[in-house]
């Protein structure tokens, strides 16, 4: 087996393993965060969680696939290890970037929800008896 094929196979195995591990970890640990973001609506949170994992797999495996051909073919073991390290490192950086982007988006949604539920920031000047029954 040539160093190039060996590098590609190792790259695919490592990248897919890391992607699956991260996706499962995010799916498991992100659920409680999503339930909070979506105001305790567990079925919506589970649905979004599942859709996010699908998107996560598509983007990352797509990137792994596209990035496979990048870089010069290694001529010896040293070059193969260097190329493998570079490629797997890039995959991990992409995964990290996506992870923090997701966190940023959801923390914004969470903050927005809290803002929408906030009480008026000032005390009323006075109170009167409500003229009509509150709307439901």
């Amino acid at each position: 087996m040539s160093p190039t094929v060996w590098t590609y196979l190792m790259y695919l195995a490592l990248s897919i393993a890391i992607t699956v591990w991260v996706a499962r970890a995010l799916h498991r640990m992100g659920r409680i965060f999503l339930v909070d973001v979506f105001d305790g609506n567990e079925s919506l949170a589970d649905s979004i969680n599942g859709l996010l994992v699908i998107g996560f797999y598509l983007i990352n495996l797509g990137y792994v696939s596209v990035a496979l051909q990048q870089g010069a073919a290694p001529q010896n073991l040293e070059e193969a290890i260097r190329l493998l390290s570079w490629k797997v490192g890039l995959v991990m950086l992409v995964l990290g970037g996506m992870h923090f982007f997701n966190l940023y988006v959801f923390s914004r949604i969470r903050r927005r929800n809290a803002l929408m539920k906030s009480s008026p920031p000032i005390e009323p000047d006075t109170r009167i008896r409500p003229a009509t029954a509150p709307r439901t």
């Binding site: 803002l115 929408m116 906030s118 008026p120 920031p121 000032i122 009323p124 000047d125 006075t126 109170r127 009167i128 008896r129 409500p130 003229a131 009509t132 509150p134 709307r135 439901t136």
Partner: protein
């Protein structure tokens, strides 16, 4: 609070301008409008000399600059601005901010 009614003076350009703007905004609670000027006179039974006030469905009354702040607070896009104004204790700015947004 589920609903708020803004009482304004229909003879004052600023009030009309801001109320028209508020009608175009996405709001977090139901918003109603009521003209205070009846037969040429402004109703002044709730907030004394102030011709602009807001009454919520649970009976809270906000007069003058507090009502202007509530006009910002009920909007989806400008609630954060209202909180910032309230936090910095600069209620006097609320009316200016409403007017500036209405003119934009």
């Amino acid at each position: 609070m589920k609903q708020i009614t803004f009482h304004y003076d229909a003879m004052r350009t600023l009030h009309v301008h801001v109320m028209n703007w508020l009608r175009t905004q996405v709001t977090c609670v139901a918003v109603d409008f009521e003209n205070n000027r009846i037969d040429g006179q402004v109703k002044q039974d709730v907030c004394g000399s102030s011709s602009f006030w807001a009454v919520t469905d649970d009976g809270n009354v906000y007069c003058g600059k507090k009502a202007w702040l509530m006009a910002l607070w009920v909007t989806y896009d400008h609630r954060m601005t209202a909180l910032r104004i309230a936090a910095t204790d600069s209620l006097d700015r609320a009316m200016d901010v409403c007017y500036r947004l209405a003119r934009a």
